[in-house]
């Protein structure tokens, strides 16, 4: 059961990513061309509802399944790593047409060549880990 609930959330996530077309290279291209509201609607509505629920969780002290009060660990403060790292990721997102979630989901839709992108992404993460101490954060 412990594992099953994560498997089910994953399956649901994969289905929503495909049915929303957010896994489509074309939708990402269209988004960066500002030619459709579709992706902005998805991300915007997800964030607005997210803000509302996270706020409600905090106000009412909602507890998670383990009985602890829900709180999100804030990201470390900083500027350079977020703007530079974000830009590097954005370049890859628009070229591959996929962010990490869709990389996996697209593999499931039968795009075997996505394995090359995933392997390269793992390698990119590895290179970051090796260079981490030398990069500005």
């Amino acid at each position: 059961m412990k594992i099953l609930k994560f498997l089910l959330v994953g399956i649901f996530f994969g289905i929503v990513l495909v049915k929303s077309e957010a896994v489509s290279w074309y939708r990402i291209y269209e988004m960066f061309k500002f030619q459709s509201f579709h992706m902005y609607g998805i991300i915007g509505s997800a964030v607005l509802l997210g803000v509302l629920f996270i706020w409600l969780f905090k106000v009412f002290g909602v507890k998670n399944i383990e009985g602890n009060r829900i709180s999100l660990v804030p990201k470390d403060s900083g500027f350079v790593r977020y703007i530079v790292g974000g830009t590097v990721f954005g370049l890859g997102w628009a070229l591959a047409g996929a962010c990490p979630g869709p990389l996996y989901v697209l593999l499931g839709t039968g795009v075997i060549s996505m394995l090359i992108v995933i392997a390269a992404a793992v390698f990119g993460t590895f290179v970051y880990g090796v260079l981490k101490s030398k990069l500005p954060h």
Binding site: I3, L7, F13, V18, S24, F53, L91, Y104, V127, L135
Partner: protein, 187 residues
């Protein structure tokens, strides 16, 4: 059933992504897909080369289960929950793409011009996939998150770092789409 098989509108899918995030938070975890790339590095023995990969990856096994589910979900969605409708792209997008040498835009999720084996197995095609993947893996870890961790979770939690990261995502995405894709693909 008919509505299930058609593409889902943004006002249905967006809230469902919120639900995914909330479920993971309720389970005591967090929504972040790019961290699985780090976990895969650790499993592969990257701890020998950097402290960054020396952590208890077994504590992150749940996220790999989510990934496994996502792969299965992708299969279920295209096999049982699709009516084969084309993606309703803006006509201008389709025309812009044809100028770049991308035809039949919207038929299928991905352009064959990038992902079909005929193109993947050329030097240029292979380089495109490897560079794209590298940028995604390097950039997400440098920024400490991707669309799920920063754009959805981080912004929902009103975190400044996530807003900066998302601005970065757009700087990179706009440079690629408006300046680099035309250089890479123009016939």
């Amino acid at each position: 059933m008919e509505y299930l098989l058609k593409p889902w509108p943004w006002y249905v899918s967006g809230p469902l992504f919120t639900l995914v995030m909330l479920l993971l938070i309720y389970f005591g975890k967090t929504f972040g897909m790019s961290t699985t790339l780090r976990t895969l590095c650790s499993i592969g023995g990257a701890g020998k080369y950097s402290d960054f990969f020396r952590f208890d990856w077994k504590a992150y096994r749940w996220n790999l289960i989510v990934v496994l589910g996502a792969i299965i979900g992708g299969y279920i969605a295209v096999t049982f929950l699709s009516d084969g409708s084309t993606i309703a792209l803006n006509a201008q997008t389709v025309s812009d793409l044809s100028e770049l040498g991308f035809y039949n835009a919207g038929e299928g999720l991905l352009p064959t011009e990038i992902y079909a084996w005929d193109n993947v197995l050329t030097l240029k095609g292979m380089a495109i996939l490897i560079i794209a993947g590298f940028l995604v893996g390097f950039g997400t870890r440098y920024a400490g998150g991707c669309t799920s961790g920063h754009a959805i979770t981080g912004l929902s939690n009103l975190q400044w770092p996530s807003l900066i990261a998302v601005i970065g995502f757009f700087i990179g995405g706009l440079i690629m789409t408006h300046f680099l894709l035309p250089l890479i693909f123009s016939p």
